[in-house]
Structure formats: C-alpha cells, structure tokens
Subunit: 146 residues, 4 copies
C-alpha cells in the first residue's frame, strides 16, 4: 500500500491551502484520506486528483453519493461524528488545515493513536503539536515523520 495522509479541517477560506496540500501529497505519492465531504475535504481531494493522486473518502453518513466528486474510493461508515476516529486513524500522518471542534477531535484521536500531526495556518492550537506556515512545509514535516 501507498502511504496515506489524512487531511482534516473545515472553512471555505482554507480551501486553497487544502488543495495545495492535496496536490503536494499526490506528487509525493501519498494517498489523500479525508472525511469525504465538502470545503477542505473536497479541496484536498481535488488537489490530489489534479496531480494524478489517489483519494479516499470516509463518510459519516449512509450513502456513497454524499462523497465529493474527487473521491476515488468511498467508505460509508454510517457512524456520524465517530467516523472522525477512522479519519484520524487511517492516516499514517495527519495534516489539519483550519477547522473547528470536529477537527480538534480528529487531532486528539490522532495523538492518542500515535499518528504524527501538523497544523497548518490558523487551525486548532494543541499543546505539543507542530505548526507549519505553508502547505509545502506541512507536507515536508509530515513526510519527515514517517
């Protein structure tokens, strides 16, 4: 299997950064895992596809059609916010791009399970979690953590 990196977060203002993260991850041959819905999740998938990468959506609901159009593979969990655990756990590392409480839960689970986490820009502040000022630095930090 290829390395998998989960890209988490939310907020329309972070879509450009998320798209860049997705693109860079694909260029480095990492599969991009997200929660499969819109905004940051869709942008990260779109970026990955623009670079010929592979994308996985881990959905909270019960229908494949909830996934954004850039998802190659769709995992339908049906477990609502508890799918945040699966999103965090399915990455060999995690990059947060913006985000609020749901993203904070994912960061917490990633740390609980020992997955390296990097927060980009103004994402949630968590003690001990490194921050990166740019998509490129976020991706390099994550790749160095493998």
């Amino acid at each position: 299997m290829e390395r998998q990196v989960s890209v988490i977060g939310s907020g329309r203002e972070h879509e450009a950064a998320a798209e860049e993260v997705g693109r860079l991850l694909a260029e480095r041959r990492c599969t991009v895992v997200t929660g499969g819905l819109g905004e940051v999740m869709a942008a990260a998938h779109r970026g990955a596809k623009s670079a010929g990468g592979t994308t996985i959506a881990i959905l909270p609901g019960e229908a494949h059609t909830d996934a954004n159009p850039w998802a190659d593979h769709v995992v339908v969990t049906g477990i609502g916010h508890a799918r945040n655990l699966a999103v965090a756990a399915s990455g060999h590392a995690v990059i947060a791009v913006g985000g609020s409480f749901g993203t904070l839960a994912e960061i917490a689970f990633a740390l609980r399970l020992g997955r390296p986490v990097v927060v980009l820009g103004d994402g949630p502040v968590v003690e001990g979690v490194p921050r990166a000022p740019t998509p490129a630095e976020a991706v390099e930090t994550v790749l160095a953590s493998f």
Copy 2:
C-alpha cells in the same frame, strides 16, 4: 430522567478532585456518566455513590466486567475510543478533570454537539472553554448552564 453530567479525564493525581465532583453532582441530583474504567472515571463514580447518587459507565470494550465497581448501569459499546463520542454526548453537560488526548477528543465532541463544558484544574486547554479552580465551582458552573 434526571440530569446527566459526564465526568471525563484521567490521571491518578486528579482522583481526589474527581471524587469530589462526583459527590457534589450526586448531592445536586445529577446522574454521573463516565467512560466506566479507572482513575478519574472510578473516582467520580465512587464520589457519586458516597452521596447516594446514580452512575452510568460507557465502556469501550466488550465486557460488563471492565466497569469499575461503582458503576450502577453499564453500557458496553465495543467501539473503542469512538465511545468517547457517546460519553460526551450523553451528558447534558461535561466536566473535565485533568486528562490528556482522549479527554481532549471528548471535549471537542461535547463542543461540536453543543454540550456545555467546564475544565477543572490543569485539564486540556481549549479556546473558549471555561475553567474552574475547584470541584465546587465546576459543578456550580455546569448547573448554571442547564
């Protein structure tokens, strides 16, 4: 049904505070919900029982016998860390006593679902979440939030 307050957290050094929180909640006729295991969870249940209260354990594993001895009612979820969502969601409000990443995930889920949260002492720092210096103040803050 009685009001339910989830007490979350971990760390042996916080057991005394958690026991006091459990006792005070029971005196105020709140059912004490926890993740059902040891340390802070057991202490909160023990405190509640010392005041004649009612306790509910929401376990991550598959066996009733995982619950601490002060649990009146035992919910066996079998879903591992994802049970943190159920612990957070089952409280009409949430009090964190110490704790690390698992506690942070519970705080994040509580905020996501609109449950009032108070952090006691040196528990996780989350922007916008009120902190209380003593068990009594934590309990009063939570009761005022209903």
Copy 3:
C-alpha cells in the same frame, strides 16, 4: 449492578408482548435496556416502569430528547445503526420481540459476543437461537441463562 436484559425488536403489533416482557423483567429485578426509541423499545420500557423497574435507552442519534418517555437513563451514542452493537452487548442476555433487519443485526452481534438470546413469537429466525411462545417463557429462558 443489577442484571441487564436488552429487549430488541420492532413492529406495532408486538408492543403488547414487549410491554409484558418489560414488566416481567422488572419484577425479576432486571434492568431493561433498549435502543430507546418507539414501538417495541418504548413498550418494553413502559412495561418495566409499570412494575417499578429501571430502564436504559441507547440512542442512535445525538439528542437526549429522542428517547421515549419511559427511559430513566439515556445514552446518546451518535453512531446510527452501529449503536445496535452497544444494545446487544449491554445486555447480559437479549430478548427479541418481532423485528426486522436491525433486530437481526443485534441478534448476530449478541451471538458474536456470547450473550444468550431468545426470540419471541415471529421475530427473526436464526439457526440455533431458541424461541419462546410467550413473554413469560422468554423471560424464564433468559433468567435461566445467567
């Protein structure tokens, strides 16, 4: 803790049987656990309360208010149909009263986890699972299994 018996199933035509099961379980000092919603779940809780028993609702959604009015304690899981695992696992034994696919999933999980199961009336047919013709016999079979 008291013994917990999960009552599962669905169908308005099975409410009278479920209510009788709930009442008999409460008379035998068993706490009645259900999925917390209507029909068979509500009827089992109502029967238990009519005999002074204790009831626990394990809800699929995110709001305490989804629970039927006879639920003493409400566990809000937020995990949709996956809460069927928690319902099955939380009983020391399980009684099915009618029901369809969701009930079948609960029976399967109960068997997977080694919980004794009895099916009342025309509930799902599963190889090796005993059936009881009346609520009284279902309850006696379950009590004998502890």
Copy 4:
C-alpha cells in the same frame, strides 16, 4: 469512482471461492471491499489483485499493519465489530462467502441500508436473500443488481 462490492464471510474452507469471487469482480472492474483481515477477506483481496483489481480493507483495530498483504487501501476504524456496518455500507452490493455471526450482522446491515446481497454456498440463511451456487453466479447476480 468504480463500483465497490463488499465481500464478507469467514472460514478457511471458503477461501478458494472467495478468491474466485475477488478475481471475477476485478475482471468486471469492481473494487473489492472487505473487513481487511484473513481467510475469506484475504482471499477475496488476493483474487482481485491477481486480476489487476483494486482492494480496500476496513479494519476493526487501530493499526494499518493488521491488514492482509493484498489490501491496496487501508481504513483503520478502531471501532471493533461496529466496523461491520461500514463494510456492509461501503459496498454498492455485498457477496457473502461462508461466514458466521459477524457475517450475519453484515448481511443484516446491508439489507437495512438497501444494499443488494447474495449468499454463496453455505453462508448464513436469511429470508429473502438470494443464494448463488458458484462464484460466477454470485458475481453475475450482483452485477445485475446495480
């Protein structure tokens, strides 16, 4: 996205049939989703890879390394048996090859969510679920259901 078919089941005696199912699905350009562990799950993945197909593992545990070696993409759910819901839901259709209680739970969830199900050989008997005598017929039945 490609069509996804979940292959469920267990039992060493069903590995040959599962491998054939995986191979045939890949030849028909369906992605093969399984619970990601051994026996039937590994065999279905192995068959799919032998035909150049794509495979997804949806694991119950917390580590990528739990997946069988033929899994291309690994979703780490951390939710134990509740991941059976995700396995059932993630297929546009489901084929059961042998199997016991866990498989029965997956069939039940698939039916609950409206996913077409076919049972191959001596897998669980569920009223109304079609059975197929051979891998080829199971795959044709599933493809006809899309």
